[in-house]
């Protein structure tokens, strides 16, 4: 309880510190990236309905926009944030630096889990040859491109048109990535088109969506039975909280407005249960740990801050069973 009120005061403090001209110049300090830990990974939500009742809540509006039982995952404020910094996707020293640094580590997790699951040769330079992989919330294509180089037939989707344009231009300059199919759409849109993929991957996105459970249901629906689902995000722990606060202090220098909705982070336990409801059984999980001295990320079993999970979409008969089992469990999502 005490922590919650601390959080709230923290939030208003940060808002009062923000100046409007930071909006136009989100990056006044060129050195901010090396000091901030994970700015681009953090979800930022400017106004919660409770703290500002006069503002129409866009999250709720988007979330109720239900199509074919798959609710929209869009959180317009989040989307606007990514649109504002789209030009910087491929700047290795820009706001997405943490994603660039983390990328080899997360790809190696994906490589090893998918190679094992799809029985691919781990020593092959293109072990994913011919696998159909969907990258949900692909951004500028930081993950899509390596997946294509590893041989996958990649579809990348993102809610932000600008991101998709950047991703397209960047991938076109290299023959090994030019075949990636990028489209501006959400996972729910694809579900409506009844598309299926061997693997559905969504890294550092779930903390930005309106409703994690609906989002995961869409991801599950897009995977073929026996296919793979991989999700990475930030844990809701004291350590993650401390990290976000540290980061926030730096972010205050450059991000428009808002603060971290730490309470919306998903814990590994919750993610596992949410995925279970989406007929995806989690098989493996790993943590990413950051070494500030070397600037390197590595895989570990410490899942207290950043973590990644690999699950398998159950075949229809399995999923009926598990769904009923899962539904009988207590309602864990508040």
């Amino acid at each position: 309880m005490a922590m919650r009120s601390f959080l709230r005061s923290r939030r208003s403090l940060s808002r009062s510190l923000l100046q409007p001209d930071l909006l136009r110049n989100p990056n006044p300090n060129p050195n901010y990236v090396s000091r901030s830990l994970i700015p681009a990974l953090l979800p930022l939500r400017s106004y919660s309905p409770a703290s500002d009742p006069t503002t129409k809540n866009p999250i709720r509006d988007a979330a109720t926009d239900e199509i074919n039982g798959f609710k929209s995952s869009l959180n317009p404020i989040e989307v606007a944030k990514f649109a504002a910094i789209a030009e910087t996707w491929w700047d290795p020293e820009g706001p997405f630096k943490p994603l660039h640094l983390m990328n080899p580590t997360r790809v190696s997790f994906i490589r090893s889990t998918l190679c094992r699951h799809f029985r691919r040769d781990p020593y092959s330079p293109r072990p994913f040859e011919g696998l159909k992989i969907l990258d949900v919330g692909c951004g500028g294509g930081i993950l899509s491109e390596p997946l294509a180089r590893l041989g996958a037939v990649v579809t990348g989707i993102d809610a932000v048109e600008k991101n998709i344009n950047i991703a397209r231009i960047h991938a076109a300059s290299d023959p090994s990535t030019s075949s990636i199919d990028y489209t501006c759409m959400t996972a729910e849109d694809l579900v409506r088109e009844n598309q299926k993929f061997d693997a559905v991957i969504s890294l550092e996105v779930i903390e930005h969506v309106a409703e994690p459970l609906d989002f995961c249901k869409s991801l599950g629906a897009l995977a073929v039975p026996g296919g793979a689902v991989v999700i990475s995000t930030i844990n809701r722990t004291m350590r993650a909280y401390a990290t976000t606060i540290v980061a926030a202090e730096y972010i205050l220098n450059w991000l428009p407005k808002g603060t971290h909705e730490w309470s919306k982070f998903v814990t590994p336990e919750e993610l596992t249960l949410i995925l279970q409801r989406a007929s995806v059984s989690v098989q493996e999980m790993a943590g990413f740990v950051y070494n500030p001295l070397t600037g390197n990320w590595s895989l570990s079993d410490d899942i207290s801050v950043n973590y990644i999970a690999f699950g398998i979409k159950e075949s229809s008969s399995d999923s009926e069973k598990t769904r009923t089992v899962a539904e009988q469990k207590t309602d864990f999502v508040s």
Partner: protein, 488 residues
Amino acid sequence: MRYATLMWRRSGLPELFFAQQRALHSSRILSSEEGLKCDGAKIEKNQEECDVAIVGGGMVGLALASSLSSMPLTKHLRVAVIDDSPFLASKGYLKRDQMPDSRVSTVTPATINLFKEIGAWEHVLHQRHAFFDQMQVWDYTGLGYTRYNARDVGREYLGCVVENKVLCNSLLLSLQKKEGFENKICPTRLASMTLPSEVNHSKFAKLNLTDGGTLHAKLVVGADGSKSRVREAAGIKTTGWNYPQSAIICTVEHSSQNHCAWQRFLPAGPIALLPIGDNYSNIVWTMSPDQATQHKSMDKDKFVNSVNHALNNGYGPHPESSSLSNLLDSITGTAMSTKEKFEVPPRVLGVVSNIMAFPLGLKHANNYAVKNIVLVGDAAHTVHPLAGQGVNLGFGDVSDLARVLAEGVSVGADISQLTLLKKYERQRKTANIPMMAVLDGFQRVYSVDFWPLNILRATGFHAAQYIPPLKKNIISYAMGDQKFPLFS
């Protein structure tokens, strides 16, 4: 069981994939029918394209080409080696009846491992080479000496001396044996280079070649020696200096085979006598530029006398146990019995090669990597030949670069991306810079003829001779299998 439904997908690969593969095949430049010619199949834009262009087919460039073609994760890369050296057209072993060449390298066990991994060591073993299991370093003042033995580090040998042309030939043969490796040697040279820019949205650097052709490469490796054209074109600056010294090198003959590496420190610099196989040894002798010019034009008998004088009977007495070593004995508590006896090096009977002279210097590139470009070997660092480490540092670069690129491929990275190349730079700088500092320190200590310093370095020899762990570390370091000599 759950996977069964997915297995068919492998055979039912989407048409898109095959189209891609076809495109890939039509754009490859390195088909086997083309042999050594560079003007093979052209892609639509009438330009040649490859993944890695290695500029310079010296020892280091060839080792990298061979290494990339050996590893499962990198052997698919389209590699081109650009060098017009006629040597690169040769096939088969070198003739053994030729006199040993005067340019030789002392290869360390770490280098030998690399050669074994890429299948080049067997070719070295089929040609002239010399293992040595002893090493003696001493000082003309007669104050100190140290004698290393392979036994001290539990090895069969301390190093192996091989002619540079044998190393090159063995690497070339290993490269020619690689199957499925789309590899091509382009017998031309790099004239100029255009780096990819944000403007043209291209991933490829454009190499303009002296034969008028062009080559487009994702990654350009500068393996073109100490006067690297690649380094210059990439705008990479160097730090370095020339020593007021030159080295003369030549091949000499004895009456029997030599199995020890000898090095004696003289007032103007060290003279080294390295076994090179049969009854031959190689001489690397550091002296003032004037003396070097003099020695170069000396008649052979006079030169031989001068060599024997420098190695044995000139300048000062042979070192023996002295008050200094007794003092050290009492400090370190080591007994005389651990000490190996000083020996007199074998007499030189004649010179069998030209006498060549090289100015000495130390040069280090400020960066080893910029976007799309990396430097390896002498292009990145040139050291004086004092400790025989020059090419070994280059082979260390090759191992690390090949490993970093393989790791990059395994995570689907773009092999030309800076974050990857910087990883190589970090690894190599931590290995090369301390070694260069050690060599520079050596140079400064040993090139001065000043009494207090002479005693100091003699003490250094004694310390190394008497304190086994230190001695062991120094040997391991010189053998290339340890990071830093003193603190481990």
